[in-house]
């Protein structure tokens, strides 16, 4: 079948073919996103084919090219590993008349905005790393204030320090904590892996017994708690601030272990993205920029008081 031009809507009953270019298929964060998209697809007679970017931007670019070349798809959903790497091929896809919806990660080079950076994109449903970093920094400041710490010695664990998201997050964090008692005394990397985080935190605690607060992703926090346990210190000696909004994180915020956790909403993004795709293909309607957090309470930040209003969208 030839791809349906995006301006002419397909009949409601015809099955649609959509390619889903995932960040990584076997990944706890990405799986619920895919599952949510899959559900919407099933409900709307859309045949979803999943491709595995497997953490490699070049692979994603290839996959998109291949999907376009195959001529089998009406739409493509992208979840970029590194936006700039696939800009070109996304443009090719749009040029070939395929409807493209971008979810979760920035498609483009500006990591400070949720606005679409590609002409002809049907919808853009992303979280903004620098905003995430800002909220993250604000919660860190709040955590320090809750214990009246000045200075407040913080160990900050990047996921991947040199990555685009990592840098954007860090910049947001530093801007938000500027002028506050927050003082980053140690840095480490988690590589999204609790075991790696555990190693990093063990070493940090040995070298910097003065650390009051650990700020990192949910995976990083898991490793941090393991490391603190292994050191034989009560976890309550430390303030923990996280981001990710996972099921695990929600539980830990609810029971007071973690001070606050900034939400990420993979399932919501997957759902909204796929809905936008269906709408575009069936009704020719572009959703444009969609803020996935607009319906969440407390600006998407879990604290002990608000934790009950959230359910984690992924495992953590």
């Amino acid at each position: 079948s030839t791809p349906a031009p995006s301006d002419s809507a397909a009949p409601a009953d015809a099955p649609l073919e959509v390619a889903y270019i995932s960040f990584a298929v076997a990944n706890t964060y990405d799986e619920p996103m895919l599952a949510a998209a899959q559900k919407v697809a099933d409900d709307n007679n859309v045949n979803l084919t999943v491709f595995d970017g497997n953490l490699d931007p070049a692979t994603q670019a290839s996959l998109i090219q291949d999907a376009v070349a195959s001529g089998q798809y009406d739409g493509i959903i992208t979840q970029p590993i590194y936006g700039p790497s696939i800009l070109d091929v996304v443009n090719q896809a749009i040029g070939a008349g395929i409807t493209v919806v971008n979810i979760d990660q920035i498609l483009g080079s500006d990591f400070t905005t949720g606005k679409s950076q590609v002409d002809g994109l049907s919808a853009n449903v992303v979280f903004v790393p620098s905003e995430l970093g800002t909220k993250f920094g604000e919660q860190t400041v709040a955590a320090c204030a809750s214990k009246n710490l000045d200075p407040c010695n913080v160990a900050y664990l990047h996921d991947v320090k040199a990555s685009a998201i990592g840098v954007a997050l860090w910049d947001g964090f530093t801007a938000a904590t500027k002028g506050s008692p927050v003082k980053v005394v140690a840095e480490g990397e988690t590589f999204y892996n609790p075991a790696a985080a555990q190693t990093a935190v063990s070493d940090i605690l040995t070298a910097h017994p003065e650390v009051n607060l650990i700020a990192t992703s949910d995976q990083g926090l898991q490793g941090a708690i393991l490391a603190i346990d292994a050191a034989g210190t009560p976890v309550s000696n430390f303030l923990l601030v996280g981001y990710g909004g996972s099921e695990w994180g929600q539980g830990k915020v609810a029971d007071g272990t973690v001070f606050a956790d900034v939400l990420q909403a993979p399932a919501t993004e997957g759902k909204l993205g796929m809905e936008a795709m269906v709408d575009a293909l069936r009704n020719g309607k572009n959703h444009g920029d969609v803020d996935p957090f607009k319906d969440f309470p407390n600006n998407g930040v879990m604290t002990k008081e608000t934790a009950g209003q959230f359910t984690g969208e992924w495992a953590g």
Binding site: S22, L55, A58, A69, F111, T112, A162, S163
Partner: protein, 339 residues
């Protein structure tokens, strides 16, 4: 005079047809699985043979082919370069930084030259460390790749402004990846030229002979008057140069560098896998550039096929592994047969 020690005329076994006996089974090995998959995909997916698809595949593999062709020489000469992936990222960052900082057409020219040159320098360092300093090439280039990746991050700190990565959306530069003389993209042309040159160098020049001899028996080569260390260093230098060229070309396509160490590792591994699937020995002394080209394209074709045939990603790894085992197993089998 010359009473020469005879060779068989008498042998009884003539049951195998003559033309079959003259096929070099040894060399043909990777060709058979390659053709088998090629034909299967042509039948299985109508899109496969389309010029667009073939062009896409080749265009994407152009950098990989350049690096792999040069790395083949390193392996044949008895070395091993695990740092090509890191060098590839490093040169892209160098090139990008130059373009961003200097700007204009001058910046583009300078960037390209600096990138390629950086690759060459890294290659020479690799060569010197693993010959004159007598450090095993595997560990030497592994250590070098840590160093290079570190250097990459430092340089990119310098090259980027504000949030994010080095971006080189300069028309004069991305042109490199977008031009299509005779309908074929410039990167493909470059890869073609590089591969052909390296292939011929290895096949027909004295240097090529020295490369084979060095990897086949370094001591014998040395006593035959070959400057073994120099030959090895040259192959490392070529690999570095190739990585530099590939880094620049792929930067023009992207046109920004994702800073992720695992990309470097993946590139190195894919290059190595392609070379070995092609049939070049990691022990040195044997192999050919055209084999590497087939090996790299074989793997690329499989991935392409998986997408076209909509194979579930969960099964792709398994399928890839099994097909590689079959292909290489066929190679091993055909070698036994040729005895």
């Amino acid at each position: 005079m010359t009473n020469t020690t005879q060779v068989e005329p008498s042998s009884g076994v003539t049951s195998r047809p003559n033309f079959l006996r003259h096929i070099p089974w040894r060399s043909i090995a990777i060709v058979v699985p390659f053709l088998a998959v090629f034909i299967a995909l042509s039948i299985g997916s109508p899109a496969f043979l389309s010029p667009l698809n073939i062009g896409n595949v080749l265009d994407r593999q152009s950098g990989m082919l350049i690096v792999a062709a040069a790395s083949t020489l390193v392996l044949i000469a008895g070395g091993l370069d695990l740092s090509v992936g890191a060098t590839y990222m490093f040169t892209a960052v160098i090139c990008g930084t130059m373009i961003v900082k200097v700007g204009g057409v001058g910046g583009v020219a300078l960037g390209i030259i600096a990138g390629v040159l950086a690759g060459l320098i890294v290659g020479i360092i690799n060569g010197v460390i693993s010959t004159y300093l007598k450090i095993n090439p595997l560990i030497a280039t592994l250590a070098m790749s840590f160093i290079i990746l570190g250097a990459t991050k430092l340089v990119s700190q310098f090259g980027k402004t504000g949030v994010g990565q080095i971006r080189v959306d300069v028309e004069e530069f991305t042109w490199l990846a977008k031009t299509k003389p005779l309908g074929v993209s410039l990167p493909i042309w470059i890869a073609f030229v590089v591969v052909v040159i390296l292939g011929i160098v290895l096949w027909r020049t004295t240097f090529g002979r020295y490369v084979y001899a060095t990897g086949g028996n370094a001591e014998a080569a040395r006593l035959a008057g070959i400057r073994v260390n120099l030959v090895r260093i040259s192959t490392f230098a070529l690999a570095g140069l190739a990585a530099g060229l590939a880094g620049v070309i792929d930067l023009a396509r992207t046109p920004s560098v994702p800073e992720n160490d695992s990309i470097a590792t993946t590139l190195t591994f894919t290059v190595l896998a392609g070379i070995v699937v092609g049939g070049t020995s990691i022990l040195g002394g044997e192999g050919a550039v055209w084999r590497t080209v087939l090996g790299i394209l074989f793997i690329a074709m499989l991935y392409n096929g998986f997408t076209l045939l909509r194979i579930d990603p969960l099964f792709q790894g398994i399928a890839l592994g099994v097909i590689i085992l079959l292909a290489v197993g066929f190679d091993a089998w055909s070698k036994l047969r040729s005895r």
